[in-house]
Subunit: 330 residues, 2 copies
């Protein structure tokens, strides 16, 4: 089978490709060709070098989508996007990449099928940013999408296109609304959501982290491993069970910041917990207060998508996948 | 105030313009300039000839939106669309007119404001086709949009754009999800929904009409006069009360086909009712069974939008507005 990952240099993209390299049958059939695309040339995993090629290309540029699709991949993971803050700061760029780029890809598939029959599986990374407050404490699968950012708008529009193109048989699309990924590997970043990961990742390595909100803040999480699992499952699953509503809110863990910290204490001890420095930040507190805190996600669970059920598990996954099993205990 | 009606040759567009001609203060302030646009040159109402001009133009054509917006209208009614059946039959045309045309208009407003400040009121005609079954018996204001046609998809996407552009202050947008308009004036047409009007309009003039479904079919209605009222109210209302959720399901009347016929009997007598010929049509029955039958529409009601509450009223409006007060009684 031929597989294409668009957005392969991002965190989830890289982890997905690593998974395919480790487990060649992850998608159910062997991979004969792997094409990795991003605006910067994505890394090729050692184990797949002979069947992989990496391309630096922008989906929104004229002709790029058509040339990518000319190789007729059987499975396409579309993870490429500019992030929320950038899409908000740069109106034109946000719409160009996150909406027009996605539509170019969809139309390229439609055009390719005019030559000879072609209907790939297409897995699209959406976001819970399609929801905007006020919302119920637990957001159900039938709640409306009223984004309060241009990023969320672009994702919600892409979800609608995904459903219509799938309904018309142009491709077999599945939209995956990801929870906030925790623990994000790497360094602390400036995203408003960064602290959810920072307060675990840094102490687990003996480093300080800043907590800008109260312990009583609730949020919605899944590990990077769970996220990769969502995409792999979406590529393999029987889509005849989905029906025309093609985007699914993924399962996740609804937890308090205080529960994150308790789990850290259980696993890494009190010295690790002491590395969390409380520095209330009114701006971040306000941003976070507008985010959804819990979802029902019943449809996705019934369709076989699985996430973590407590923070101990999320932390253990990070220790296994990122720290080689080693934790700092002070 | 300068007013522009895009889609002015359609049924609602013409009735809206007639209303503005009859009541020059309908929008709260006098109209100094009225621009009427459609793909065919729309008629200019006699009373407004001195301040009106009519244009045949396609919003989706290069440069059209910018040249329209160069006149900086204060209020823009955007009613232009190709209908559901055509958007389904012609994928490219549907997306070009109903999505790209709308986005061109929105972007033209954004670009115009780069010269000097400009933020018009923009009223967009959406549709209950944004909903797709299965849905609850009564659809609430927070139910998700999962269209089952490309037309509904294009309307749902336009609603998202309307909200994002309004949130960013580019224009002051309101989306109006219209019920099925009944009684549509004119001749019977081939739209699957045509019979809802045909079975009243034709007998009221002594003509036969075909009923292809059972009397127990329930649907969602408002008169043409109510529809014009929605647009006029949206142009005048205080939008600070709306918040970021810019599209509203309009109020309407949920009624059975049997209730339509009973009202016809009360107003026009048994001979009129006898002009309805029952010819069950499995295709139309199937299409109609997928349509929503009732809505809560609480938000729109609270914001002052008003529709009819029984079919007698809907029929009387038709008699007043279309038949000069005269009804055929056999």
């Amino acid at each position: 089978m031929r597989v294409m990952v668009i957005g392969a240099a991002g965190m989830i993209g890289r982890k997905l490709v690593e998974k395919l390299a480790l487990d060649s049958e992850a998608l159910g059939r062997g991979i004969e060709q792997l094409t990795l695309v991003d605006v910067i040339e994505p890394p090729i995993p050692a184990g797949l070098a002979s069947i992989s090629h990496a391309l630096a290309a922008d989906l929104a540029d004229e002709g790029v989508a058509a040339s990518l699709i000319a190789s007729r991949p059987d499975v396409i993971f579309h993870l490429a996007a500019i992030v929320s803050g950038e899409a908000e700061a740069d109106f034109d760029k946000g719409y160009r990449i996150n909406l027009d780029g996605t539509r170019s890809l969809f139309d390229a598939i439609r055009n390719e099928a005019k030559q000879e029959p072609y209907r790939p599986r297409l897995i699209f990374a959406s976001s819970i940013a399609v929801f905007g407050e006020p919302f119920p404490e637990k957001i159900g699968d039938e709640f409306f999408t009223t984004p309060l950012t241009s990023y969320g708008t672009q994702k919600a529009i892409s979800e609608l296109l995904l459903a219509d193109y799938s309904r018309r048989g142009i491709f077999d699309g599945i939209g995956i609304r990801l929870p906030t990924i925790c623990i994000r590997p790497g360094k602390p970043n400036k995203a408003a959501s960064g602290f959810f990961s920072n307060i675990l990742r840094e102490p687990l390595s003996g480093l300080e982290a800043v907590l800008p909100v109260d312990d009583t803040v609730r949020h919605w999480f899944a590990s990077p491993r769970a996220a990769v699992g969502f995409f792999v499952h979406a590529a393999r699953m029987d889509t005849s069970r989905i029906g025309p509503r093609r985007t699914l809110t993924m399962p996740g863990l609804s937890a308090l910041v205080g529960e994150e910290i308790e789990a850290l204490g259980r696993i890494a001890g009190p010295k690790a917990v002491k590395l969390i420095r409380r520095e209330p930040d009114a701006v971040i507190r306000k941003i976070v207060s507008g985010w959804a805190t819990d979802f029902d996600a019943r449809r996705a669970r019934e369709l076989g998508f699985v996430a973590e059920t407590d923070f101990d598990e999320i932390i253990r996954i990070h220790i296994e996948d990122e720290l080689g099993g080693k934790v700092w205990h002070g």
